[in-house]
């Protein structure tokens, strides 16, 4: 059997740049998507959290050193909410890409699929980060959410890892879904449980007060750990347990997603 010609290393960079640029242009063209990605968490922050401001006493839990308002508590969770919706929406767009054939064009490239999919994940993650920082700026303006300034830098890798994890989960889902219609159902069964059964809206001790099984469900949800990783990083702290779980989940789901897009599997699907 004839060996394929070796790939020029520059092609890797070229493909990464190409995929990043495409995602960026798509982002620029879909301004309404950017706005809706911001409106959703802002509604939670300004309307939902305002009602709970005094009703819900948040005790001092790490990484906080003193009492905080509910707005301050949910802001990191809402950052992750942006990443969650974006990760899933981008996967939705991949199903669309597949239906329209552009995904096939991408996957026909001589470069390894793993590389292409990682480029795709990275592109989705980087676009999400722009939206998260946009949200943080608005949260500061609207409700005075003020983490330490250096925290805006230290949170960057935590946000990136979280975005990759959620993108990988989305990618895996998109590899399993044939049609756009099916995806809507998955959104309901994946996004909402993932967001609500986590530490994004209430601290885990509060969940435990409500019910023991809910607490355990939150603890088993990798999204909870991603939220805690982001929360700690915003306050210049490293939560090692959250980092290990988020990184581990990212690795596992990326691997599964790559396997889902493997040529053998794609070929089997066609037959």
């Amino acid at each position: 059997m004839k060996q394929p010609p070796p790939i020029d290393p520059r092609a890797y960079w070229h493909s990464l740049r190409g995929i990043l640029e495409r995602e960026f242009y798509r982002f620029l063209q879909q301004r309404s998507r950017f706005l809706s990605a911001l409106v959703r968490p802002l509604l939670w922050l300004v309307v939902f959290a305002a009602g709970f401001r005094a009703a819900l006493g948040v005790a001092i839990i790490p990484p906080y050193q003193t009492y905080i308002t509910y707005e301050t508590y949910i802001a990191p969770g809402l950052c992750c909410m942006i990443l969650l919706f974006n990760g899933m929406q981008s996967s939705l767009s991949m199903v669309y890409d597949r239906e329209m054939g552009s995904m096939r064009v991408l996957l026909m490239s001589p470069l390894p699929r793993t590389w292409l999919l990682i480029c795709k994940l990275l592109a989705i993650a980087l676009i999400s980060l722009i939206q998260v920082y946009g949200f943080l700026a608005l949260a500061w303006l609207l409700v005075g959410f003020e983490p330490p300034l250096a925290g805006l830098l230290t949170v960057l890798p935590a946000l990136l890892l979280t975005a990759l994890m959620l993108g990988a989960i989305g990618l895996l889902l998109s590899s399993r879904i044939r049609q756009l219609e099916n995806f809507a159902g998955v959104m309901n069964f994946v996004i909402f449980p993932m967001f609500f059964i986590s530490s994004a809206l209430y601290p885990l001790w509060k969940m435990r007060e409500a019910s023991e099984w809910l607490y355990w469900a939150c603890l088993l949800n990798p999204f909870s750990h991603a939220v805690e990783l982001v929360r700690h990083a915003l306050y210049l702290e490293l939560n090692l347990q959250a980092l290990a779980i988020t990184a581990g989940t990212t690795a596992v789901f990326t691997m599964l997603a790559v396997m889902g897009f493997s040529p053998e599997r794609t070929a089997r699907r066609k037959t």
Binding site: R53, I60, Q65, T66, Y67, I68
Partner: protein, 322 residues
């Protein structure tokens, strides 16, 4: 040998210097019958000391060597030696002492006796009761003017400020304020007296020369029911810039511009914030939060709460030793 000893002692003194200069906050824990000591550098509790029953108001002598503690249920004012942390004397305070104020002469202690409607004046050196002055029902807050001329007491049920002439120990005037006045604080220049009214939800600024109210402050916190706004502790910066008001179960400290009387901000602290105290350079303001059992530390320059430190049950009074 002498050189070695000198070097060792020099090294020891160098090592001990930061600790020696560290400021320590004394916090009375009403339900634990203890004092918690907080190191104001590390912002951690470094020691807990058992004292008399139900310690509430505490204050340091002007030279910082003695700490006076109102042990309310022991019906005494205890005197603690700050260096050794030993109780060295008990002053005849009258029944149920709650708050007191030390005269600038470092000699006379004015003690409010809540159950007896009295203010007891005690000589802290001779341990003698010099006078007992009848005031309104349930006396609570006490303050002595910076020039030492006035001792002012608040009575919770009569709703008055009682002006006591410190030379004659006679009650010479009363000022009616809003319901349940709990605390009074003179400005550093002695021109105004700030009196909080817990049920009234106000702070009255009284002109000392005329003993009339010149301004009344009210507070509104977004998302907090007005009934929960119950002002208690008041503290004024010595530069006359800010006044801080502890708002009890509203769990906030109000920051007031002491010149324009405008409320600038509300800082979230622990539950049922009670009394306040500055450190020596007024860079930090400490609050006792009774229900949550902690002390919040406010960065005065940034007007931000930096940390809340767990202490005993129902922390009440504060004193800072520099």
């Amino acid at each position: 040998m002498t050189l070695r000893r000198t070097l060792i002692s020099l090294a020891c003194s160098l090592l001990l210097t930061p600790a020696a200069f560290a400021e320590v906050a004394y916090v009375s824990n009403e339900k634990d019958d203890t004092l918690s000591l907080i190191d104001l550098d590390s912002l951690e509790v470094i020691e807990t000391i058992a004292v008399g029953q139900r310690p509430r108001g505490i204050t340091l002598s002007k030279d910082g060597t003695r700490l006076y503690i109102c042990a309310s249920d022991s019906d005494t004012v205890q005197v603690m030696d700050v260096a050794s942390h030993k109780i060295i004397a008990s002053l005849p305070s009258g029944e149920d002492p709650e708050q007191f104020a030390l005269h600038p002469n470092n000699k006379l202690l004015y003690i409010a006796n809540e159950d007896d409607a009295l203010v007891t004046v005690v000589d802290v050196d001779s341990h003698e009761v010099l006078a007992q002055i009848d005031v309104g029902v349930e006396p609570e807050g006490m303050a002595v003017s910076p020039d030492g001329k006035w001792a002012v007491n608040t009575s919770e049920t009569t709703n008055m400020l009682h002006w006591i002439d410190t030379e004659t120990h006679q009650l010479v005037d009363n000022t009616l304020v809003d319901q349940r006045p709990r605390h009074v604080e003179f400005s550093d220049d002695g021109s105004t007296l700030w009196a909080s009214a817990e049920i009234g939800g106000t702070v009255s600024v009284v002109d000392v020369a005329t003993r009339q109210i010149s301004k009344k402050l009210t507070f509104q916190i977004r998302g907090v029911h007005p009934d929960k706004v119950q002002p208690v502790g008041v503290k004024l910066t010595s530069d006359g810039r800010y006044a801080f008001v502890a708002l009890g179960p509203a769990n906030h400290v109000a920051v007031v511009d002491a010149k324009t009387y405008e409320v600038l901000d509300y800082l979230l602290v622990g539950r049922r914030v009670w009394h306040l105290e500055f450190n020596a350079d007024e860079s930090k303001l400490l609050t006792t939060n009774g229900v949550s059992g902690d002390v919040s530390i406010i960065d005065v320059a940034a007007l931000k709460v930096v940390k809340s430190v767990k202490v005993g049950r129902y922390p009440w009074g504060l004193a800072v030793k520099s």
